[in-house]
Symmetry: C3
């Protein structure tokens, strides 16, 4: 599979969206293909919610209308990303097998009609879903329009964790596979606490409604189990597709920063990374686009990836639903390409007339093609044609930031000194990297190739196994440099505290230990004081750090631990390891810390950094450089290109010296090798 | 029924309240009648929650105590508005038929003990309720004290929508009656969306708990269905009563601005409009009293109506429960009469000693008749005697504002550019009309007599059928003038978007179309700029309006659509049609828009308008004018009566020239024809 | 039992904490005993959550490991407060008897894994719990380390009110015992309201989910019933223990200001008052420590009591979980002793490694004994040794404040003029007493010995029986003085309003009545105006007070009742009775009222009062005085000792004249008789 990751579906940038012809009469289909061609569309995702229409009764399939759609698309030169159509089960299946419905932690069943209302732990559901997948694969495996498979849709997105009897049974099977014996489970979960000891597997419930917090080790395992249940469902569909068409890439649309699926795990079975991206336009979207694209790129860091869904104008579920101003759709689309996407797709092609998403934006709005949105869609399609040379090139990062879904689950689960939102701990840090023009990948702690990164950052890496600690030690010993932040390396894979001075297995590496972690009310409750007098406001959590071999870089400004260490650095082997015991209140503060801890000379894009101006370079296999300049600011930005010169792929103009960008402007400087 | 609407029960203003003698021993009944006479009470609502006491076991009735109460009242000259007593089922019925209880969307059953805990879709509940209604009708149909029937109580008020199996069965029957075939239902609901297609009726659930939003067409139908279920229950009781006493008016107490019952539908079976009004005294009550009274009047615009419940001093469910200061009860009571009520009634006659409403105010408080409240009650009773000439007169409005419960349900249901509260969209507009001294009725879009109004306003009339659009076109063609506001005429009766440029069926009439609807965060995000330089702050939603035949009256001040049209006017036939694409931030802004769009010369009360001073004229059949002056301000108000002169009915004083009103003062100027 | 209340377990101050050896291997046990000795620990609470480990299967007990722990402790000279271990049922019992789980008001069952997830109305649960209690009693009744029994743990703390069928059955039995006949119940509950009349006991449900508020008399009885159910469970365990060891004191750990258990009732079966205290360090802890300790002392006002749990540094459930700064643990610990505790215990001895409390602070933190926390623990242990002379002495109060759980339940239940939080009504008042240096006990209205108090205060004593009113009248007649505040004496034991001018049964005593109670939005909406021109801001509720025999001390500043009485005083018999009809906005205002109403000369500690400085004197049987000076302020405080002199027990220094205290300082001045 690794092999197939250097995918290149069409030899050009992908452009298109979800297509739901089942909502429309056939005369609209014909108009659709015509408009697609006008807009430059070359790929559509087809059939995602068509289960009921393709499979109207048990064992009955109705493909004729779908054949016609495939045919029309093929005739129009539009390729198909064909869905397995299993995202929402039909009413007849619900009636036949009411037990397929998910059940919440209170025991309330979810009803039919929402999307993804099933539990993946229902064998009946899986059986019917695979039957449909097989039928679709059989029917279309040789269809010339087919170029990609789309498994299900936003797995576990609206599909909640379920707590019913089927889930309990599957959970116990999962636990038996993980622990082997009930004694091992009791040991791992620490069930002597609050008299939770289990004698038999069937005594173990899912973490349903309790009078108090549940056993946090159980909660962590339930998150693992549910992520695995969805990944397993994905794999079963993928297996059918791969058997039918070994050459056609299989993927699914992951979700931006989504907490419930271990994306580093599911990516093992995907031929490419693809994701859906829906920032709120009112919030600073540049930061959000950057971190969500970087996380997706990090899943297959040496290959391009695909933006599978975004919206043209406004969604319907972030009220107020603000419209993207003219030029914003283009800027955001190209920002994904700047970070490695080889295409831009939308939900959806044509705005619907009914159902709960009828006010969701589309490439063709309800007003029709005579509309601002469709005109911008056509312009963007034309832009993408010009970016064909960029296809296949990649963006390489020098800094790795640890990201681990197991850490996220553990960190957000049990009662700690603070209420942690895992992603929030990382966002400010990532924004600081963006401000400094640095390129960052997210890295799983088990990644065998840590040494590709010049620097590694462990933000709030609460769960860190002994083996992962060991690998870090090796990394530093060989010359790597790391920054570990507050509340890291406290628990093992079972969420049990390491017994002794924390962070136990990093203590020697860091040359310090942490005595106490004070949860504080405000984000700027205290400050890091550097020897040169600089103060960096910090708060949220304040740890009293006890240097042993490490030197103190900054100490607390106030509170009863005034003067105690908060930022330390330890030389170890050929590298060094720093520890930060509190959270800078502002992104500026994070940038200060990064600059003091690491030598950033030569890192990043190499141009002068400016606020709200992204500069990102993709490298081709032959040494070509494609540098994207994206102006998010509401005023003009001017860039001194220095020694760089070449052609703007979008306008064809030659570029050298001073480059001027108006708001929302994008320039793609091509420098050939 | 229309005929019986010119009701006149007593030949004088009605005065009284809910009476619960079952809470008290008989010696108190005797004192009650004595005090009622002292207070000028002439009508009480009797037996509303007496089911358990009148019908203590299946088939067993116990009327003796009730006979005695009826007799005492009759002897005291007090008339009776007799309840069917079905508002809360007794415990024995709950035990016998536990399935009568309502079930929430999560499947949780409501328990016995609250009021109206039943579902009207239980046939057992209906059977027992009708048995009681019949027994009461049989017993009292010829009683001389009986002058009015009170069906149930605040229908669907505390009775929630229910989602159990009985409701599912009744819903399916209702759907079959509406759609005829499952194919028609699938078409109407757009069930191809998210694989929701139904093959059989029994696959259709009520909109229970889902993982996502439900099908909005289904949600709209469920609102219709539940409103119908309650109206049907009302009709069944009313039918029994009408058969027993064809001459006695039948009604029920509707609720102020209540969203769950289609009041334009239920009023078809009521002999008069009656309602309960409980503003929060801390919020600006004048506005609330005005809109809630106007809506009730609009149900039978050519007849008087009745304020069936309000409180004397304080309620028990709006904590903090503020007391009405001296004079406020009188002001509010007379304000209802100014807007057409032919009486004033309270919940309740005597404050209770137990149960969850024991701290609800009453005409006789727990402290007894030696109290401020009872003294004011007696004074108000005396005032009402003096208003006898006003009985039967009506207030006529020149402006019609569209109000349609189906639109309310559709607007508040599905995912849109904004979160709409239907009533909130109308309240600021209605307040502006009040500020301008205009008289407004609320009008259902299907009203066959639109031409009685000089102007029509369509506030946020999201759901508008083709037929309704056609009627509007006819209205304007014949010389009518309309103002249509944002988010109007987008969907049909099934809540499906009209396909094409919006508002499709009003496009020609308005001479413009709306391209995009931007949901914005603040209410004063933008402004309407008029040619004369006036700026009217607006926000909430900003639509880009594309004039075709229409002229532009105002354009946007800012954002990327700066300079685009926001307010247009189109001459059409003999009339004109205006469109407003955003929401003024203040009532003052609404007044600006109304004055620019309509020629208001000669509209309204004709006196100089002043803040917090209501002036309202009721007209008698013989041309008499009764003009109410009500001072809500905390300072004195002075009115120049101009050519008007006559007598103040309340004081008997002759009025001419300058009229001075102290805070809370009310004057009723009678001008005979 | 009364006799055994002058308990003295160890002849010295108690010091220790909860000990959970089942979480650790045996080698840690040995280290534990060693460290306990180092810290001065003399008592541990053992086995609280060990049910599953002591009783691993039905009828099977496993005591060997526990014997070893007991033995090790005994060898180390550590005494044991032995738990009945019934706080959380094991998984096998849950599987065997799933009906033991509590059910919420919506019908949702609680699942296994949280603590105290059972309902005490399950006979199966009680049977197994008592079987375990008996087994423990049998095994350890003669063990030399045993000095105290610890029944269950924080009864009803996490154990919710349950609403299942077992609860319904038990509730009906409780009701039959209380009311005898269904007619008496209907009368007491006022079930004619909303048709709630019951014909048979089995028609009565628990107050499950309703469409409206439940019958408030039923709700009050359900609170009584559930408090009784837990107290009954406590009694059953205590009976077993008392039979086994008549000489060993039995108690349980009550909770600070806990609303669900009637502590005045359960204390009848406790040999001493013990409680758990967890203030939030971010909020003003001095006030909280004072009121919670005073309430616990008030349960057995003539005996010492015991602080059974607190935390050394930070808890894990108040995020952010702030750390106590150096010295704070000592200050808070000694503050409990100042108010009468004869010891200091912690949850817990050693920080856990797993489960949802692993981040809860402990005497030995995860970092081990080389830590700030353990060092402070050792210092405190040494301090306690020096306080041995204080053992057995008590603090005596001159002011009694009414506190009645039945009043709390009634006040917080039904719909009133305001939303009342019972404790909040008292806290500001208690703080004012603290500011004035007054000593206060909380007193149940049925207390037969009211005359021991110089003054009595009835804060918001909504429920007051006729007998309680009569006792107050006798108290004042004999020379007592009382202050009654707003919303008092309105209802009887069934929560039915007294019929007539309120407060009916105190009207003659107070010489005034209350006409109306205005719920107002702000806390400083109005003011008490005194004749000397002083204004004391007040609000929340404003009652119009009608003096009869009483004199008016203050009248309202504003609103329509400006000038009406708000504070009155009535001479009655040899005493006097004051009434306050509104709530002072600030503690300063409460102090003003107290000083005007009562002659406080000679009350309180007798030193000059200073902010955040507590001065509290315990008296020994032989006339010795132990005066604690505790400085909560962040600056130094200086006290003029006047005629007092003696020795500081903590430092051994002689004290006279000026006493200086740094922040967090504590001095214990011993004056021998």
């Amino acid at each position: 599979m690794k092999e197939s990751r250097s995918w290149n579906l069409l030899g050009e940038m992908i452009y298109g969206g979800d297509y739901n012809p089942d909502h429309w009469p056939e005369e609209i289909w014909i108009e659709d293909v015509q408009l697609m061609k006008e807009a430059g569309v070359n790929l559509v995702s087809l059939g995602i919610f068509s289960w009921a229409k393709l499979n109207p009764a048990p064992g009955v399939f109705s493909f004729e209308w779908f054949d016609r759609v495939m045919e029309l698309l093929h005739e129009g030169g539009i390729k198909v990303n064909l869905a397995t159509a299993t995202a929402s089960p039909p009413a007849w299946l619900w009636k036949l097998h009411p037990e397929i419905g998910a059940i919440d932690a209170d025991g309330t069943p979810f009803s039919h009609g929402g999307r993804q209302c099933y539990t993946p732990n229902s064998k009946a559901f899986i059986r019917y879903a695979l039957e449909l997948t097989q039928a679709i694969a059989d029917r279309y495996q040789d269809h010339p329009a087919l170029v990609m498979w789309h498994v299900n849709n936003e797995l576990h997105g609206n599909g909640p964790e379920s707590y019913g009897e089927l889930d309990a049974i599957a959970f116990r099977e999962w636990l038996q596979a993980r622990y082997g014996s009930i004694e091992a489970l009791n040991e791992a979960w620490g069930t002597t606490f609050w008299s939770q000891i289990y004698s038999e597997w069937d005594e173990i419930p899912p973490p349903r409604k309790l009078t108090t917090g549940a056993n946090p080790s159980m909660v962590l395992d339930y998150k693992r189990f549910f992520s695995d249940a969805y990944i397993d469902f994905y794999r079963k569909e993928a297996e059918i597709l791969r058997k039918a068409t070994p050459e056609i890439p299989v993927c699914t649309n992951l979700m931006q920063l989504y907490p419930k699926i271990d994306q580093f795990k599911i990516i093992e079975d995907c031929d490419l990374a693809a994701y859906d991206c829906y920032p709120n336009p009112i919030e600073a979207p540049g930061d959000f686009l950057a971190i969500s694209a970087d996380l997706t790129r990090s899943l297959t860091p040496d290959a391009p990836w695909l933006l599978m869904e975004q919206v043209t104008s406004q969604v319907n579920w972030q009220p107020p639903n603000t419209i993207k101003a003219p030029g914003v759709m283009r800027l955001w689309s190209l920002s994904h390409m700047a970070r490695g996407s080889d295409g831009v797709m939308f939900f959806q092609w044509r705005q619907g007339r009914f159902g709960s998403e009828k006010f969701h934006g589309a490439m063709v709005p309800n007003a029709g093609p005579d509309s601002r949105v469709f005109r911008e869609v056509c312009e963007l399609g034309a832009d993408l044609k010009k970016l064909k040379p960029v296809v296949g090139s990649t963006l390489q990062a020098e800094i790795g930031i640890f990201w681990n879904w197991e850490n996220l689950w553990a960190l957000e689960t049990s009662d700690k000194a603070q209420v942690f939102n895992h992603t929030e701990q990382i966002q400010r840090l990532h924004e600081a990297c963006r401000d400094l023009g640095l390129y960052t990948n997210f890295v799983h702690p088990d990644n065998p190739d840590l040494s590709r990164y010049r620097y590694l950052i462990l933000p709030c890496t609460y769960l860190l196994t002994e083996a992962q600690s060991k690998a870090l030690r090796d990394y530093v010993e060989q010359g790597g440099e790391i920054l570990v932040t507050y509340y890291s390396a406290l628990v093992d894979e079972n969420e049990q505290l390491y017994y002794g001075k924390a962070p136990l297995h990093l203590r020697e590496l860091l040359g310090c230990w942490v005595e106490e972690s004070d949860g504080v009310e405000s984000n700027d409750h205290n400050a890091l004081c550097f020897e040169d007098g600089t103060e960096v406001p910090c708060g949220f959590i304040c740890e009293t750090v006890k240097p042993e071999a490490a030197e103190t870089l900054a100490s607390y400004r106030s509170n009863w631990y005034q003067g105690e260490a908060v930022l330390t650095r330890n030389r170890f082997g050929k590298g060094q390891a720093s520890y930060l015991g509190s959270r800078p209140a502002e992104r500026k503060g994070w940038a200060d810390v990064l600059q003091r801890v690491f030598d950033l000379e030569g890192c990043g894009h190499g141009f002068a950094v400016q606020p709200d101006l992204d500069i990102l370079t993709r490298h081709g296999a032959g040494g070509e450089r494609y540098t994207f300049f994206l102006n998010y600011a509401s005023e003009n930005r001017s860039v001194d290109l220095g020694a760089h010169e070449g052609q703007d792929l979008l306008t064809g103009k030659a570029l050298r010296g001073e480059l001027l960008l108006e708001p929302n402007d994008v320039v793609v400087l091509a420098e050939l090798a």
